[in-house]
């Protein structure tokens, strides 16, 4: 049962990496979209495309935390003790990001929008970095039960590379999705705009992965071996194939499928990492069985998970479908009968 819950955890992390990642990626492109005038159209698209789904996308993170503390309490304690600073910063980042995004929309003044937009965009960069750094620290075996917070746990080559990879991967996902969104909303010019950026981000991922190979060889030996052999390797290869397929699809401008392949490549990498870590939750000091919580609880956690899938699954599908069919639209000022106030300049 513990094994199964560990896989649930991996799947939920993968879901967060994909759903949340797309979101962070959109934030990344918001950040680099340039000045107010130049970045107006891409930002408008990002706003428009993200608005209905970003909250749902980010709830996966809560699931991650809950499965961790209910299923593997000792691991939760160890991770949050050792990784105190990056997690604290990620939490602050989450607040700034969400608030920035939510508050930017109803603002009608350029100056305010700039501030909220900057909050949103900068923290879209920092949050995935810190979360990635935490994963890197765990993968390189720096978290053990009883490790206290120290910079070494997360400011090391593997963590930093993992953080950068997280940023690059989110940027890739974000650009691929925005590409399809642009097509969906009939913004021709933006299709090419984001297509180029998706390709650049993919190149970034590849470069970082190539750098990571030698650097993590000794630093994160156990996981490195897991990723370069057996099931781990298989998934890595599949992920690479999906990534390349995405590139091909982008080049051929078939934006319908590129989203699925890009998501698959990220999810497969997370899955590969799951395989590589087996049987540890904290390589190489704490195994899944050692970390597992009470068996009665695990059984119930499984039941709760199944119920969640049954209830949330269809709702989520409905949301994404309505969204892609263009049924979801923000209320406009005309419909809430709102007037302009002095000083509005947008």
């Amino acid at each position: 049962m513990a094994e199964l819950i560990a896989w649930v955890l991996v799947v939920v992390i993968a879901a967060y990496a994909c759903a949340g990642g797309t979101d962070y990626g959109a934030g990344f492109w918001d950040l680099v979209a340039g000045g107010a005038e130049r970045g107006k159209r891409p930002r408008g698209l990002i706003d428009h495309a993200m608005a209905p789904v970003w909250e749902a996308n980010n709830v996966w993170l809560i699931f991650v935390l809950i499965v961790m503390w209910t299923g593997f309490p000792t691991m939760f304690q160890a991770v949050f003790s050792a990784m105190w600073l990056p997690l604290a910063l990620a939490a602050v980042g989450l607040v700034l990001r969400g608030a920035g995004f939510a508050l930017r929309k109803p603002s009608r003044r350029l100056a305010q929008r700039r501030i909220y937009g900057a909050m949103f965009a900068v923290s879209s960069l920092l949050t995935p970095f810190f979360l990635g750094a935490v994963l890197g620290g765990i993968a390189s075996g720096r978290v053990k039960v009883g490790t206290t917070a120290s910079a070494d746990a997360w400011a090391n080559p593997t963590s930093i590379l993992a953080g950068l990879l997280a940023i690059a991967a989110t940027a890739f996902l974000g650009a691929v999705f925005l590409c399809s969104d642009a097509r969906r909303f009939g913004a021709r010019d933006l299709v090419d705009y984001f297509r180029l950026r998706a390709l650049l981000a993919f190149a970034g991922v590849v470069v970082l992965a190539l750098i990571a190979l030698p650097v993590t060889h000794n630093d994160a030996r156990y996981v490195w071996d897991g990723l370069t052999g057996g099931a781990g390797l298989l998934l890595v290869i599949l992920a690479a194939v999906c990534g390349l397929a995405t590139v091909l699809l982008l080049l051929r401008r078939s934006h319908g499928w590129s989203r699925y392949t890009s998501v698959a490549s990220v999810a497969l990498v997370v899955g590969a990492w799951g395989f590589a870590q087996r049987p540890y939750v904290l390589p190489t000091s704490l195994t899944v069985t050692q970390a597992a919580g009470a068996s009665h609880t695990l059984r119930w956690l499984m039941i709760v998970t199944v119920i969640a899938i049954i209830l949330v699954g269809p709702a989520l599908v409905l949301l994404y479908r309505l969204d892609t069919q263009g049924e979801l639209e923000e209320l406009t000022d005309a419909e809430t009968v709102a007037a302009r106030t002095p000083g509005d300049n947008l």
């Binding site: 159209r41 607040v95 909303f185």
Partner: protein, 492 residues
């Protein structure tokens, strides 16, 4: 006071900043929770009315409330996510030891919120294109999801108050975990219902309060009447129920957490014929200065007769009970809650009387003044209720099983203080901006409603985003068609 100093001496330095941060972030989050739990229902009631009777004013109100909900929900989510992080950042000891015993409640919470987040997105963004009734029905599960979410949180919190569903091995680690018992603890029932009703009341009074203010400023049209009456009626019906639920919660505390009850009521020595103190301050020798003393009443409230024995604070060693200061805080918080609860009953009676006699709202301005204050008072009461629960439980994080000082993180106190500083600054900025944005929306609506010609002219013809087919102006059925001509109806 000596005992306080002694206890502080052997507590880790991290404890104070960790507590302050938990208290601060929770206190802020809880201000949004009433709206997260109850605003969807109130909005749906209004929405239903609008569709059923083709009432454009009601639809406009529902639409505007959902515009507010969109922002409020986002802030609720992020502050809630911070709380989840804080369980690890501040109290890893509690989660490491007890996570598998009581964590499952949060599992329920998580999928409920997930459902809520999905449904609310559909509801908020469905106004324009979904068919009016489809749109309405897709919103209907929202209040249920919110109740489910509250279920999870309160299950966890009531477990911390009356932990059970496990036994301890030789090392003091929990074994034989029984999840059902851990979720349905003795405090769960009283706490849950009291909490849920509090949320609906609070949201009702706050929303009604907004329109009461408009009414006082002379905007007495149907829009304001409707915006006031619907939420206010919901809230007033709940008020007496809440009084009874609170009373039974207090009795549950009396039975299950006697030391907390002693702190709430300032009972020093275990005794019968215990007097009730309204407010007052506990001294270190057990006397109470100030306050209003009512002989016998505490025993009567706890057990319906003066001879009921009430456990006192001194029944346990000094470091197993709240300090003098904490007891006084819990006592004041409790008394403020009860006072506000009682005053709200008077308000509810006034309203009921007026309907019964005149079939109309009371006419005096004092009624609307009180109604305008009721919302804020409710928010204060919610804070007080939580202070009672949390401070009254001290020094335990898990009642009688784990001390707060055992649960706290090892991270250096200086880091925690820094973090606290950052969190306070960020939260104040975010909540300030949130309030500013909501007030700004209100101003825009008022200007539009007042139909000032200049404002009208300035309103862009189509405030849409410039993308393809989606942005075609379209009279999307009754749901949005009704609203556009209702502007003359009123002002906010």
């Amino acid at each position: 006071m000596l005992s306080t100093a002694a206890i502080l001496a052997n507590t880790p330095a991290q404890l104070l900043p960790a507590r302050e941060q938990m208290a601060f972030t929770l206190a802020m989050h809880i201000l949004l929770v009433p709206f997260g739990v109850a605003l969807p229902l109130i909005t749906l009631v209004m929405h239903h009315r609008g569709l059923r009777r083709g009432d454009a004013v009601a639809l406009l109100l529902a639409r505007r409330w959902s515009a507010v909900m969109a922002v409020q929900f986002a802030i609720g989510i992020i502050t809630g996510t911070v709380l989840s992080f804080e369980f690890g950042l501040l109290w890893p000891g509690m989660m490491g030891r007890w996570g598998d015993v009581f964590g499952l409640g949060f599992g329920v919470e998580a999928w409920a919120f997930f459902l809520e987040a999905v449904l609310i997105a559909i509801y908020l963004y469905g106004w324009r294109r979904l068919k009016p009734w489809t749109h309405f029905w897709l919103g209907v599960p929202l209040p249920l999801a919110a109740l489910m979410g509250a279920f999870g949180i309160i299950a966890a919190n009531s477990w911390m108050n009356t932990p059970r569903g496990f036994s301890l091995d030789a090392n003091g680690n929990p074994i034989n975990v029984n999840v059902q018992q851990a979720i349905f603890t003795p405090m769960f029932g009283p706490e849950y219902w009291h909490f849920v009703v509090a949320m609906f009341m609070t949201a009702g009074y706050v929303v009604a309060g907004v329109y009461a203010v408009g009414w006082l400023r002379g905007r007495r049209d149907r829009y304001h009447r409707l915006g006031f009456t619907v939420p206010f009626t919901v809230a007033t019906i709940l008020t007496p129920i809440q009084f009874m639920l609170g009373d039974s919660a207090a009795r549950a505390v009396f039975h299950k957490q006697p030391v907390k009850f002693a702190a709430m009521e300032l009972v020093w020595d275990t005794d019968t014929h215990v007097p009730e103190y309204m407010f007052g301050r506990l001294n270190s020798d057990g006397t109470v200065s100030g306050g209003l003393k009512i002989p016998q009443l505490d025993s009567i409230l706890a057990g319906f007769k003066p001879s009921t024995q009430v456990t006192g604070l001194t029944s346990v060693p000094a470091d197993d009970r709240p300090t003098i200061v904490q007891a006084t805080i819990a006592h004041w918080a409790f008394d403020i809650m009860v006072t506000v609860g009682s005053l709200l009953i008077l308000l509810a009676l006034w309203y009921a009387w007026s309907w019964w006699r005149h079939r109309d709202l009371p006419r005096t301005r004092w009624f609307f003044r009180s109604a305008a204050v009721a919302g804020a008072a409710c928010l204060v009461t919610v804070e007080c209720g939580w202070i009672t629960t949390e401070v009254g439980r001290q020094p335990w994080i898990v009642y009688n099983r784990m001390r707060v000082s055992e649960a706290v993180t090892d991270t250096r106190a200086s880091s925690l203080w820094t973090m606290l500083g950052i969190v306070i600054v960020v939260y104040i900025a975010v909540f300030g901006a949130f309030l500013a944005v909501v007030l700004k929306m209100r101003t825009r609506w008022r200007i539009a409603d007042e139909g000032s010609a200049a404002a009208r002219a300035a309103l862009p013809p189509e405030t849409d985003t410039p993308y393809g087919p989606r942005s075609e102006p379209e009279p999307a059925g009754a749901a949005s068609g009704g609203g556009s001509d209702s502007g003359s109806g009123g002002a906010s």
